[in-house]
């Protein structure tokens, strides 16, 4: 499990200090740029998980320019949100052209910051799934632990239980709930790592100890027993040796 890395693009030092304090309280890792050129350089070197960008940088709408630039390449696109003190349509109409985004109006409090970040990620995920774009980034799961967000990679998971509107991710002794349908889940997971064993279960086959087809169960290395459905047996056989 890793901390989320936030890139803040803000030209006023006071505003940045305030934002940094609040982001660090949420246990985010923070990087900072105060102009368009540095921002783009940093964006491509550190590949942040979220970008918070002020619309106005040094009196120019460089924030929007930044967004436009990073949207040109969907495969490296990350969720971002605009910071602004205006709520008029002229400012936003340009921002709207830049793809999935959310915004945060200054002054804001920590709750508003948290919500705006979550919304940005949500919109980003919707967009990515609709477009069917593989972004590399989209294979991570953002999970909440004690109200703080972290990211976790599929290979860290043992198995996934799918319910109708959400999924339970099991990793070691921890369980995280994420809002995701089966379709979204299958889109996220790397194909050569997970296999479906039952309509409710996807399992990391590196964690499989044995498959007992007769008892219709799959036993994991840590001893967990999961239901197995014959329907998926052929698929499973491609990946693992079946003991019957």
């Amino acid at each position: 499990m890793e901390k989320l890395h936030v890139l803040v693009i803000e030209d006023e030092a006071d505003n940045f200090d305030l934002l940094k304090k609040e982001l660090e309280a949420f246990e985010y890792e923070v990087s900072h740029a105060d102009n368009l050129k540095d921002a783009l350089g940093l964006y491509y070197t550190i590949s942040p998980d979220i970008v918070i960008v002020d619309i106005f940088l040094h009196g120019q709408k460089d924030g929007i320019e930044f967004a436009r630039k990073i949207c040109e390449n969907p495969s490296t696109l990350r969720p971002f949100l605009f910071l602004t003190s205006a709520s008029d349509r002229n400012t936003f109409s340009e921002a709207k052209l830049t793809g999935p985004y959310s915004y945060l109006i200054k002054p804001f409090n920590p709750l508003e910051l948290e919500y705006a970040i979550e919304l940005a990620i949500e919109k980003y995920n919707d967009e990515v799934i609709n477009l069917g774009v593989q972004t590399g980034y989209s294979s991570c799961f953002l999970v909440k632990k004690q109200n703080k967000m972290f990211k976790i990679e599929p290979k860290e998971l043992d198995y996934i239980k799918v319910e109708s509107r959400y999924c339970e991710l099991y990793s070691g002794k921890e369980m995280y709930v994420v809002q995701s349908s089966l379709k979204e889940m299958l889109h996220k997971l790397p194909e050569n790592l997970f296999v479906r064993i039952h309509r409710n279960y996807l399992v990391n086959f590196k964690q499989v100890k044995e498959i007992a087809a007769q008892d219709a169960t799959v036993i994991l290395k840590d001893g967990t027993e999961l239901l197995l459905s014959r329907r998926y047996l052929d698929e499973i056989k491609k990946h693992v040796q079946v003991i019957s």
Binding site: S87, D88, R89, N90, T91, F92, K96, I105, N109, P110, L111, E112, Y115, E163, S164, L182, H198, R199, N200, A216, L227, S229, R230, R231
Partner: protein, 593 residues
């Protein structure tokens, strides 16, 4: 899951072919044909129709298709509109029977564009066919377009087209298209079911049970899935083997995941049994199919040569058509000129009416604006003047070094600045919204979390007055609204509530009820409530209304007016709750996400 979906779909297709032969285009063509056959037609036409009538009964689809293609090339009788139309209909029938779906769709579209005024009743059949064919080609969006068009068509309701098949078609489209909508699927399947249960069509019924079961299975509602699958099996007899086989397979799987292996085994055995019989039947069909293909290939060469003749004739026809078209074009131009003059006259008249209406509206708006400006000017002047006076006092107190009074004055100033800032903020948003310049983006938002965000800024004030804040909404109370304007509404409501509620009071927000499209929320405080004479003008444009707060109240009352306007802009509303007597109470309506 994908393989499984295909099982369901293929069964459906099988059923549909059966239905097509029995109920759809062929019977229509036959009926129409015999109708024309009995009518008073000229001799050569009658011959053709008579022949077609008997061909439809005796010839196989592939042979009939050949014969028709020949007729299109050579037969003079086809120059008659009715006969030509009939021949085209018959061609559609053959294409359908031969499962040449793309060609069938093309043919139907040709008929519909060539004879746009053809009988409404037959058009309904044709549209149904197009929908069915698109569905079988798995072009779900196109299929949906046709099916939906039919539902809106008044002649569809009257026609004999089997409506359950349409409903199922729509349901399947929603289920299998790229972005599936299982709720819609459920709705249409249940509609079909209602229809079928009334008519007791066993085969269709079994299939709908199977589809419904699968749908619920996919929605993780195992109980309902089991219910419908078992219902399907209970129909017993008269049901196609494919469907029974699928039902058994699905039930076996369901029982297995439940851990009921005895029942799972029973159904699995049944499934295997049916699979064997299906295999036998399919083998027979395959043989028949091969024979038919062979027949077709023999005639193919003959068609090729006939096609060339047809092309020559076509050229001659086109030449004649060009001459006729030129004449028609000239007449058309004259008619157009006449109507253009009329239209021009009418539009000028209408424009004048619109302009005078707009003028009235603008006058009204301008009057409102002027009124508001005068109030605002007054309300802004007073606190700023007070600030100035206080500053003077501060200056003298600083010189006298009277620290307690200094603190008092500073506190007064702070309050004055805060309320003036709020007034300015409201004024800004109001003017932006009046000029349609306020950024507005309606999206799915969590009402509870938005209120929490607004309340966060009032925490110190609430603590200072020991007011209890009760937010009784579920997590993920999702509504459709613009976040920024929603926050303005709650900022105003909370601001008022805190101002008018005495110490140790409470503010309570709770869900009253949830309807199909709306969420009704109550907002109450334990303050003094709205005075009786103010109730009727609470949401009106502020005039000289003033009220006295428990502490000191400033502001032009623009807030409530803004709340109303923004709530309505978000597709909801805000009203005074007259039934609540413990203080001020409001009923807020939101659009559900």
């Amino acid at each position: 899951m994908k393989n499984y979906a295909l099982v369901v779909l293929s069964t459906f297709l099988f059923f549909f072919n059966g239905a097509a032969n029995k109920l759809n285009i062929s019977s229509v063509v036959k009926e129409y044909c015999s109708h024309c056959n009995n009518g008073n037609q000229l001799k050569d036409k009658t011959d053709f129709i008579h022949q077609l009538h008997s061909d439809l009964k005796t010839l196989s689809p592939s042979l009939l298709q050949l014969k028709l293609n020949e007729a299109f090339v050579s037969n003079k009788a086809l120059k008659n509109d009715t006969v030509n139309y009939l021949a085209h209909l018959a061609l559609v029938y053959t294409l359908d029977a031969l499962k040449l779906r793309k060609e069938a769709i093309q043919s139907i579209e040709l008929i519909r564009s060539k004879w746009p005024k053809l009988s409404k009743e037959i058009d309904v059949y044709l549209q149904t066919e197009v929908g069915n064919n698109y569905l079988e080609l798995q072009f779900y969006d196109q299929a949906l377009k046709y099916y939906k068009g039919l539902l809106k068509d008044s002649s569809f309701k009257k026609s004999e087209v089997p409506k359950d098949a349409i409903f199922i078609g729509i349901g399947l489209c929603y289920q299998y298209r790229e972005v599936s909508n299982l709720d819609s699927t459920e709705f249409y399947f249940l509609k079909a079911l209602q229809y079928q249960e009334n008519w007791n069509k066993k085969d269709n019924l079994a299939l709908t049970y199977q589809n419904l079961g699968s749908l619920y299975f996919e929605k993780y509602d195992d109980k309902k899935a089991k219910l419908y699958w078992l219902k399907g099996l209970q129909l017993n007899g008269g049901v196609t083997v494919n469907i029974e086989s699928d039902l058994n397979y699905n039930l076996a799987d369901l029982y297995e995941s439940e851990g009921n292996s005895t029942k799972a085994l029973h159904h699995y055995k049944q499934y295997v049994k049916y699979q064997d019989s299906i295999w036998n039947r399919d083998k027979l069909w395959e043989l028949a199919e091969q024979k038919r293909k062979f027949e077709g290939e023999l005639k193919e060469q003959r068609i090729q040569s006939l096609k060339k003749d047809k092309a020559l004739q076509q050229a001659e026809i086109e030449k004649k058509q060009n001459q006729r078209n030129a004449l028609l074009g000239l007449t058309g131009a004259l008619v157009l000129l006449g109507s253009a003059i009329t239209v021009l006259y009418r539009s000028t008249k209408k424009k004048n009416e619109v302009i005078s209406q707009q003028k009235e509206h603008l006058d009204e708006l301008n009057a409102t604006k002027n009124k508001l400006f005068s109030i605002v000017a007054h309300d802004l002047r007073a606190p700023v003047q007070a600030l100035g006076r206080n500053n003077q006092k501060l200056q003298s107190k600083v010189l006298e070094k009277e620290n307690t009074e200094l603190a008092d004055l500073l506190k007064q100033n702070k309050q004055g600045i805060e309320s003036t800032y709020k007034l300015l903020d409201n004024l800004l948003h109001w003017s932006l919204s009046q000029a349609e310049e306020l950024y507005f983006q309606s999206e799915s938002v969590d009402l509870r979390r938005i209120i929490e965000q607004v309340e966060y800024n009032y925490k110190p004030l609430l603590r200072e007055k020991k007011i209890e804040f009760l937010l009784e909404l579920y997590n993920e109370t999702l509504i459709k609204a613009d976040i920024n304007t929603l926050k303005i509404v709650f900022r105003n409501l909370l601001d008022n509530a805190i101002r008018f509620t005495p110490e140790n009071g409470y503010i309570r927000i709770y869900l009253v009820k949830e309807t199909l499209g709306e969420l009704i929320v109550s907002f109450e405080d334990s303050g003094e409530g709205v005075e009786a004479e103010k109730k009727s003008i609470l949401f009106a444009i502020p005039s000289e209304k003033k009220s006295v707060s428990t502490q000191k109240k400033n502001g032009a009352g623009l807030g409530m007016y803004l709340c109303k306007e923004l709530m309505q802009k978000n597709g909801g509303d805000i009203q005074l709750n007259d039934d609540y007597e413990g203080g001020a109470g409001f009923i807020l309506t939101f659009k559900k996400a």
